[in-house]
Subunit: 359 residues, 2 copies
């Protein structure tokens, strides 16, 4: 087992990465402070891993909320079901929420923990590649609003993240690829060596080679932990982690939550960010093609859906959280492995990016 | 004008207290960082003060949400109306929410600010005595859940609190008394000198003597600011501010939000806490009567409604945030002007307090 630390002063916490971690009771129980806990999971994950987690809780009073599976359920109404369960059980301020599932479960449970009685303990047990490398680490919690993704949320750190790589064996191929999109992102935004490694090991990842997966998760979490430690609340460099996300969220919102997976939106968004970087003269067409081919290799989409017009797309982008004082801030590339944040670009070039094709 | 500072490191902020502060544009505008703002107010306050605030916003893009008036509207559905307005206007992360109204407006707008795009700027303009001395200061934000008051919320500090004492001239008598309940609380919990002053000046407060009101607000905010600075997130002594609140919330929730005003619940709760303190041998019956008479002098209730049985009452108390690992924590008095937090008490004595009468 590998332990990484996210260094955030009195909000620091460990990330455990390894196989069969759900079988080890103490990894979980040492981080439960009070005498009650609520597990939040979904209909897909519950039959697979719920009993494994429950058995460790022993004498700790606990209850379970099983939500429907999908991004379209990450909303205020479903959040209220979690509050209902907490209050019906009279769980107090010392209670612990355990998020058992992918990014949707982590985000909504995290937000419930941030806001129930103004903040209770949170444990993240991510069971998808996407949540293991991204959403469970760094304290971003949120629910969606019909007018924008992740528009309602809080920064709220967990007590621990337990990333059991064995859970990836039950992930379907589309979900696996969606997670790989975020893995590719870390290479592109700041880790050229890892980008090179990914080009060589993409097939191993798709074949779920355990050591390749463990390495990709560790390296991704390391990259993320460094950035988050330096800028917890995204006043500066943390925004680099949003590479591909402003474009991607527009696709996710525009198509209706759940139609495109988050990683699929991010994958296409990274290609669009690369094209914009090329149009601005930062990177070459060959670079764009290299990025696009790596993403295709991961069996991810690289083109925005035809259903979205350039005008509609930009309107959707304008409600993203990266907008400041009316101007959409973009994460672009100076080079592969070197991203930057900017609001200094040509609007027409941005429009041209939305429906164009390279390579 | 008096300026008090709440000292919380990089979350410090000033409280301005004085007459006709709403007429001074710069008090407001110097604290607006971005180029957009949303004013949240209610149907009672809007006709009185909305235009005064709006006229200062000049070229800042702004919109207004006018909510119905009352504690029963401090819920997730109404909160969503604020998110709708923010998103329909495409207001970004640099926007400022301005809470113009009493405690309900301050609490719900504060929570909206804490959670919209994971946190935007907040300005509190409290227009009731209760919110000027209590809810707008200290960063507690919340909405109610049908199973408990203030159960969903966050600690989130405003950029500034503007307490214009002229707004108290339009407050009805019952609301004024409700605010005085919180003023009385500061004397009881830790400021014996102020308690003495209140006994002498209660009539002046009820007659809305401007200098008496200004002094009571300043002294209350000073007391609160000191306690909050030392313990922002209520891990210790801040809980003293909840004197009377565990009992009071049970009444508010049990009777249905809006039936009893918050200060009315707190007033009765303080009498119950005094009776419990007397039963435990901390204070004399004469002390209980002194407290009760001061509260009666302020035209506030001192007895829980007959509709609530002792059993029902304790069940309602058990969902309060002061509960830790199943035991209700009480704020009791060692003496008038000296409160303490405890979970070491006799359950039967607590039951006896609920429907008894002293003096």
């Amino acid at each position: 087992m590998i332990t990484l630390n996210v260094d955030l002063g009195d909000r620091s916490y460990p990330i455990y990465i390894g196989t069969d971690l759900l079988g080890q009771a103490d990894l979980l129980t040492q981080h439960i402070a009070g005498n009650s806990a609520l597990i939040v999971t979904n209909e897909t994950v519950a039959p697979l891993y719920l009993e494994k987690v429950k058995q460790h809780l022993g004498s700790i009073k606990h209850d379970v909320v099983i939500l429907p599976d999908g991004e379209q359920f990450k909303n205020l109404d479903v959040l209220n079901q979690i509050y209902d369960a907490l209050l019906s059980n009279q769980f107090d301020r010392n209670t612990t929420l355990i998020a058992l599932g992918g990014g949707v479960i982590g985000d909504i449970t995290g937000f419930a923990a941030a806001t129930y009685q103004r903040g209770v303990n949170l444990i993240q047990i991510p069971t998808t590649l996407l949540s293991q490398v991204d959403s469970s680490v760094g304290g971003k919690t949120a629910v969606n609003h019909k007018l924008g993704k992740n528009m309602i949320g809080a920064f709220y750190q967990p007590k621990v993240v337990i990333a059991d790589t064995s859970t990836l064996n039950t992930l379907d191929d589309r979900q696996l690829s969606s997670g790989i999109a975020e893995v590719i992102k870390y290479g592109l935004l700041g880790d050229i060596e890892f980008h090179g490694w990914l080009k060589e090991h993409m097939k191993a990842l798709l074949h779920r080679d355990p050591s390749a997966l463990a390495y990709a998760i560790e390296r991704s979490c390391q990259n993320k932990a460094e950035i988050v430690s330096a800028d917890e609340k995204e006043s500066g460099q943390r925004a680099l982690l949003n590479l591909g996300h402003t474009f991607g969220h527009a696709i996710e919102t525009g198509m209706g939550y759940g139609e495109w997976l988050h990683g699929e939106g991010v994958a296409t968004g990274m290609v669009m960010a690369a094209i914009m970087s090329c149009k601005m003269g930062n990177i070459s067409e060959a670079d764009v093609c290299e990025i696009k081919h790596l993403i295709e290799l991961a069996k991810l989409p690289t083109h925005a859906p035809e259903a979205l017009t350039a005008k509609g797309f930009k309107k959707l982008m304008a409600v993203d959280k990266k907008v400041q004082d009316g101007k959409i801030r973009l994460i672009l590339l100076n080079a592969i492995g070197d991203a930057y944040i900017t609001d200094d670009y040509d609007e027409d070039q941005l429009t041209d990016c939305i429906n164009c094709s390279y390579c």
